[in-house]
């Protein structure tokens, strides 16, 4: 243990002596904390969309000869995106091509006419035009999703408005009232009143006329009752299927907590893996390993020292990051001891993995590259949710990510941060198994170090 202590101090001394490394270790978590903090405290900015409305002013959608109130589609769309109003199609195309806007939405001049034609015998196909610059697949996908979503919302609002108007006319038909045509109020008797009047006059009529009148009265009553049922059906027609979301397979943490956990785990993983792997490879690069293991410190002791170095620095850096996050998102400080447990277990397993990488490679540069090549894809794969890829691919991803400590570390840190989250027991047990396995691999790989 004496040797481990002096080696640990030596490594910290070397770390302190490399200003770039020391600055990176302090600056990196602060930078990550600030970036994640801003990301979770401010929503994503609305995408800029060029908007060209060619529909003549005061053109209204009409149903059955009557105009619907203004749907304010333009206003509603511009609530969801940052509209850049353009004068003509050429300007819209220029803005899309230059990348000034994500896309351009054009409402053609005959849009309302075509909507109105839907209730005629020669219905047209109302279309809006979307101009996109598909310079890359992600951008194209994003535009597709956003515009499709906007139009679906606009369609839904129009359908609801039409449904509501239809319902109002049905109400008039059933209950009676007044209907305005060209500024003139026309009284509508309504089925209910009709049935009541017929029922009242029927006894006064000659008996031979009564059966026919009673049939009319019966029809009016049935029509009233059935049209009453039809009204809610028309209301539902605009959105026939409603979503009832039921969470199964564990509660997911709030998005901002998950973002903090991802940032903390990424920071911890890179700092610990790179530091442990690099400092172990440095012993080889400096030719110090054979001299050290000639009775000064055992190979196991040396491994333990490197992992301890990674755990201590990783703990300090991650805690620094989490403290920095407090400025953006108040975390529950009453759970700090859980943070410590999660970080210590995670850092231990990540350190053991780093030691295995460090023992496998001989040079610090090769080790750094190897550490990045392993950590980055595993971290990325660990964030792929089930259902995002095919079941076979997801099984393969799940298997791969279970072999590296990133995913259980993320689960443990998420559970430590989130009060309503799932338990830490599973991830901690997983991390322990991985720590033991990687330590064993590192110990075997260290034998190569001894070869002169």
């Amino acid at each position: 243990m004496r040797g481990v202590r002096w080696l640990l101090l030596k490594d910290l001394q070397i770390l302190r002596r490399s200003p770039l490394q020391a600055v990176l270790l302090i600056a990196y978590p602060i930078l990550i904390a600030v970036l994640v903090g801003f990301a979770i405290s401010r929503g994503p900015e609305d995408p800029r969309v060029a908007f060209l409305n060619e529909v003549p002013p005061n053109t209204r959608i009409s149903v059955g000869g009557a105009q619907l109130p203004k749907a304010n589609v333009e206003d509603r769309i511009c609530e969801k995106v940052e509209c850049v109003f353009v004068e003509d199609r050429a300007e819209a195309e220029e803005k899309v091509e230059s990348g000034d806007v994500l896309a351009a939405l054009v409402l053609p001049y005959d849009l309302v006419n075509k909507i109105n034609s839907l209730s005629t015998l020669t219905p047209g196909v109302p279309e809006v035009e979307v101009l996109v610059n598909e310079e890359n697949a992600v951008k194209a996908e994003l535009v597709d999703d956003r515009i499709t979503s906007l139009l679906a919302q606009a369609n839904l609002r129009i359908a609801r408005r039409i449904g509501a108007e239809g319902g109002r006319y049905l109400g008039l038909l059933v209950n009676g009232g007044h209907f305005e045509v060209l500024g003139e109020r026309i009284p509508i008797l309504g089925l209910r009143t009709t049935a009541r009047i017929l029922a009242a006059v029927t006894p006064e009529l000659p008996p031979r006329l009564r059966p026919a009148l009673e049939e009319v009265t019966e029809f009016a009553t049935q029509a009233r009752d059935n049209l009453n049922v039809a009204k809610p059906m028309i209301d539902r027609l605009a959105q026939p299927i409603a979503v009832d979301k039921v969470a199964v397979g564990g509660e997911s943490p709030p998005l901002e907590i998950f973002a903090v956990a991802v940032a903390a785990t990424l920071t911890l993983a890179f700092v610990v893996v790179l530091l442990v792997a690099g400092s172990l490879a440095l012993e080889r690069e400096e030719n110090a390993f054979p001299r050290l293991t000639r009775g000064l410190v055992s190979s196991t002791g040396l491994l333990g020292e490197k992992v301890l170095l990674g755990v201590l620095v990783g703990l300090a850096v991650t805690l620094l990051m989490l403290v920095g996050m407090q400025f953006f998102l108040p975390l529950d400080l009453g759970r700090v001891w859980l943070w410590l447990v999660a970080i210590l277990f995670s850092a231990g397993a990540l350190g053991a993995a780093g030691a295995a990488l460090g023992a496998a490679a001989r040079e610090v540069r090769a080790v750094s590259l190897l550490a990045f090549m392993v950590t980055l894809p595993v971290a990325f794969l660990s964030l792929v949710p089930s259902g995002a890829v095919g079941p076979e691919v997801f099984d393969a991803i799940r298997f791969l990510t279970a072999l590296f400590p990133f995913k259980p570390a993320l689960e443990a840190i998420t559970a430590a941060l989130d009060e309503a989250g799932s338990g830490m027991g599973g991830p901690l047990a997983h991390l322990t198994v991985l720590a033991v396995a990687y330590a064993a691999i590192a110990r075997i790989a260290l034998r190569r170090f001894a070869a002169v």
Partner: protein, 262 residues
């Protein structure tokens, strides 16, 4: 950048008392029939060597002869596949060919670290002693990476001497040193041997082996070809390769190796 040279000073460390484990009281370290294989290749084929206190033994041979492997086995870093190695109770100091130290630490920090790792009672005093011995006291605060190869080698040797070993193993210690640094190195090493420390060094420079080695062990392809004094080696070379007798010793030595099938 000008290099400030400081000679090694002649303060040899007192030798340790040898224990009774050795076969003879005057043997500080001994290897018998050592065999080492790396896969199917035999790096050492039954090599034997014994050195007494204060003896300066040169191990010479071409590249790949097995010099470093033999020293590593004597140092206890590598294990022989056959044969045995025994040494006196005093520690065996080992100075690898490439400086085994931390280049981002200062000269003093390196010496202090290894003194602490070796469990010295007063690590500072030990480091001071080595700084004095190597003449690097004035450069104690300098980062090792900024020192010349010669000065790095001085620290490398000083670390090997920290344990005040009875036997010092030097693996090609003069590689990379300029003639002045080399002369100072050998002055220092000779003084150590004069003080009773057994010094075994490897080299592929025949002149260096002849000049500084009290005894010379010739290795080629893992086989021990000769073990005796430098004078005896000259005699052996002359009789084995008479056609090269009139040429320089290095050429004659190469001819000797060829005659022996290497």
């Amino acid at each position: 950048m000008t290099e400030k040279y400081k000679p090694f000073r002649g303060h040899p460390l007192p030798p340790r008392e040898y224990g009774s484990a050795m076969s003879a009281a005057l043997t500080a370290i001994e290897a018998r029939g050592v065999v080492k294989r790396f896969g199917s290749r035999e790096a050492l084929r039954g090599v034997s060597l014994a050195a007494g206190p204060g003896e300066l033994v040169a191990i010479i041979g071409p590249n790949g002869a097995g010099k470093t492997t033999l020293l590593s086995i004597l140092a206890g870093i590598a294990r022989p596949d056959a044969g045995e190695v025994a040494s006196a109770d005093g520690a065996v100091g080992w100075v690898p060919q490439q400086a085994a130290l931390y280049r981002r630490l200062t000269v003093e920090e390196n010496l202090l670290l290894f003194a602490r790792l070796e469990g010295h009672e007063d690590p500072r005093a030990s480091a001071e002693e080595m700084l004095e011995l190597t003449g690097l006291g004035e450069r104690r605060g300098e980062i090792v990476a900024r020192l010349s190869g010669g000065n790095q080698q001085r620290i490398n040797i000083a670390i090997g001497l920290l344990s005040r070993p009875a036997v010092l193993l030097l693996d090609e210690p003069s590689v990379g040193l300029d003639p002045r640094q080399r002369a100072r190195l050998w002055e220092f090493v000779s003084a150590l041997a004069g003080g009773g420390t057994t010094v075994i060094f490897s080299t592929h420079d025949i002149q260096e082996a002849e000049r500084y080695g009290g005894r010379v062990l010739v290795l080629a392809d893992g086989e021990s070809l000769f073990d005796g004094s430098a004078g005896e080696l000259r005699e052996a070379v002359r009789s084995e390769a008479p056609e090269s007798a009139d040429r320089d010793f290095e050429t004659a030595f190469v001819a000797y190796l060829q005659h022996r099938g290497h």
